[in-house]
């Protein structure tokens, strides 16, 4: 593919970039020069994407007067920050599990149902919306539903089951429910190609060899789906872990998640002399997300084996 494009490109009259049609050394230099066309993209993303992330990393290891220190990282070991990381990770794991299980079953149910036909596209369209939905509107929708004066709360009160004060929408359990509203659709979107990639022939082949349904799933179906499902789990985990807006709007700091803590550092609600601690927390968060996303990319590569 790249060879043919190069060849065609070489035959295009290129104005300022003169590419001789023959001879390998000049052609090579021309290819190198073509990289300059990407200079705007590379410098822009470097300035607005790489540099801010690097600044966070850099500042995490500096004192307020600029000398090197590990103190900020050590301060992160303070009880409240350990608890935030633990809470954030627990919330992300739980909401990813909820998303994977319910989203996976929902996607499987819809995709393997022959009728009605519109169901598949309806589900995918709605999932596209739901997976992007978050932040303030989502928080308000759930306050109106399961808040103290929410409609479902009132409905349950009327039949004699009072949610409050045992349950609170702005608690950990509440966040799991609210996050499910975007995690389940995301799972549907991510897992649909894998489910549609299952071939009927595999099942027929297994049945012809005398396998039961359970055996088929145990030895063929699930092992094939496993990399995709694990990849989806990691992606959902990272998605929940980096979410800030929904938690901030819903809990106003009641559940001490890492992003919420960083947000309060940024707003200057915490003493100014340990502003670097915010950077250290951000660094810790960055490490978790980078590890998760690398794992996701690796799993996706494994899953791609079966997509042909």
């Amino acid at each position: 593919m790249s060879d043919t494009l190069d060849g065609l490109a070489a035959s295009v009259p290129t104005g300022e970039l003169v590419i001789p049609p023959t001879g390998s050394p000049p052609r090579r230099r021309a290819v190198n020069r073509s990289w300059w066309g990407l200079a705007p993209f590379i410098s822009y993303t470097f300035a607005v994407l790489v540099l801010p992330a690097a600044a966070v990393l850099f500042r995490a290891f500096r004192t307020s007067d600029g000398s090197f220190t590990l103190q900020n990282i050590r301060d992160m070991g303070a009880r409240q920050y350990v608890v935030s990381f633990r809470t954030s990770i627990a919330l992300s794991l739980l909401s990813a599990a909820v998303g994977v299980i319910f989203g996976g079953v929902l996607a499987y149910s819809v995709l393997t149902l022959a009728r009605p036909r519109w169901l598949r596209s309806a589900m995918l369209t709605f999932s596209g919306l739901g997976s992007q939905f978050g932040g303030v509107p989502l928080a308000f929708i759930f306050i109106a539903t399961l808040g103290v004066t929410g409609m479902v709360t009132k409905l349950l009160n009327a039949i004699g089951w009072s949610l409050y004060p045992g349950f609170k929408i702005y608690s950990f359990a509440g966040l799991v429910i609210v996050y499910a509203y975007f995690q389940i659709p995301l799972m549907v979107i991510v897992i649909t190609p894998a489910i549609e990639g299952l071939r009927r022939q595999w099942r027929e082949a297994a049945a012809n060899l005398g396998a039961t349904d359970a055996q088929f799933w145990r030895y063929v179906g699930l092992p094939i789906l496993l990399p995709s499902v694990l990849g989806a789990f990691v992606l959902l985990f990272a998605n929940a872990f980096s979410a800030y807006a929904t938690a901030a709007a819903l809990t106003s700091g009641q559940v001490g998640l890492v992003p919420v803590k960083i947000g309060s550092f940024l707003r200057g609600n915490v003493t100014a002399d340990n502003a670097q601690l915010g950077q250290a927390l951000a660094t810790g968060m960055l490490i978790v997300v980078v590890v998760a996303m690398s794992l996701y990319l690796w799993l996706q590569k494994r899953a791609a084996r079966w997509s042909k």
């Binding site: 319910f102 995709l111 308000f140 929708i141 940024l266």
Partner: protein, 271 residues
């Protein structure tokens, strides 16, 4: 089209139950929100919240601001990404892995970390630069990067870019003309899709705007919710409806403008 992987014929009661549960979970809260937006307890049911949104003096400014920021973001994103993806396809296909990885980075780096870094880097910059809401545009360009790259990449992969470019250049078109009059019209579906996605994402962005203290529409929404419950419910539903609208338009476009658009070069060239 349904999956060809269909279970053996047997009444799919389990599946139907799951689908009903899923539908309840997703539509239930929307219905509940609608009811609470018109429920004034002892005063009964009325649409006051919606009419006061329409007549509100305060909502116009943040909405207009968010829209302007979104439009500038779209323009800036395309000015950056269209030539880049075009150039990559035509001249430096070996740069693909690099551009792909950089384009995934905004998914990897959470917005909150981006904000911390940007606040860090721009500390001490003059107020006229960092104090204006349009300071958000360069950051939002980065947020839009992943889906912009993907849609442009898919769009350009679907057409014979090299031949089209060769033909246009052979007829004396400048590189700018090639992009404007040949490439863009051929990518209408991809371009329109990412325009709407970009608009929707930017108009709903909360994290960055709130931490950099700009009063965009989502920030206004958050503030309004603390004042009156019905109003907040109504506004949230409207926000949902707006995204829904963008998505439906997107679907309609991608259905109507098919892959055969490559034939229709001359027709769109004047736009």
């Amino acid at each position: 089209m349904t999956s060809e992987f269909v279970d053996r014929p047997r009444p799919p009661i389990g599946k139907i139950v799951w689908i009903i549960i899923g539908a309840l979970f997703f539509f239930g809260p929307l219905v509940a929100t609608f009811v609470s937006s018109i429920n004034y307890n002892k005063l009964g049911y009325r649409f006051t919240a919606y009419s006061s949104i329409l007549h509100s003096q305060d909502i116009g400014a943040p909405l207009w601001l968010s829209f302007q920021i979104a439009v500038y973001t779209v323009i800036a994103s395309f000015s950056l990404m269209l030539p880049t993806v075009f150039w990559m396809h035509l001249k430096v296909p070996s740069a693909r892995p690099l551009i792909e990885i950089v384009s995934i980075l905004p998914y990897v780096i959470p917005p909150i970390i981006l904000v911390v870094g940007v606040a860090q880097l721009t500390r001490g910059w003059p107020e006229w630069m960092v104090g204006r809401p349009f300071f958000l545009v360069p950051i939002y360009v980065v947020i839009c990067l992943p889906f912009l790259f993907r849609s442009l990449d898919a769009g350009m992969r679907a057409i014979d870019l090299a031949t089209l470019t060769e033909a246009a250049r052979g007829l004396g078109a400048t590189w700018g003309q090639v992009l404007r009059n040949v490439v863009v019209p051929n990518l209408r579906a991809a371009v329109l899709g990412s325009v709407f996605l970009c608009l929707a994402v930017v108009m709903g962005e909360f994290t960055i705007a709130s931490l950099l203290l700009f009063n965009t529409f989502p920030i206004y929404l958050a503030g309004a919710g603390r004042v009156e419950a019905q109003g907040a419910a109504a506004l949230s539903l409207l926000a949902f409806a707006v995204s829904w609208f963008f998505l439906l338009v997107l679907n309609a476009i991608s259905k109507r403008v098919g892959r055969s658009a490559a034939v229709d070069i001359t027709g769109a060239a004047g736009r």
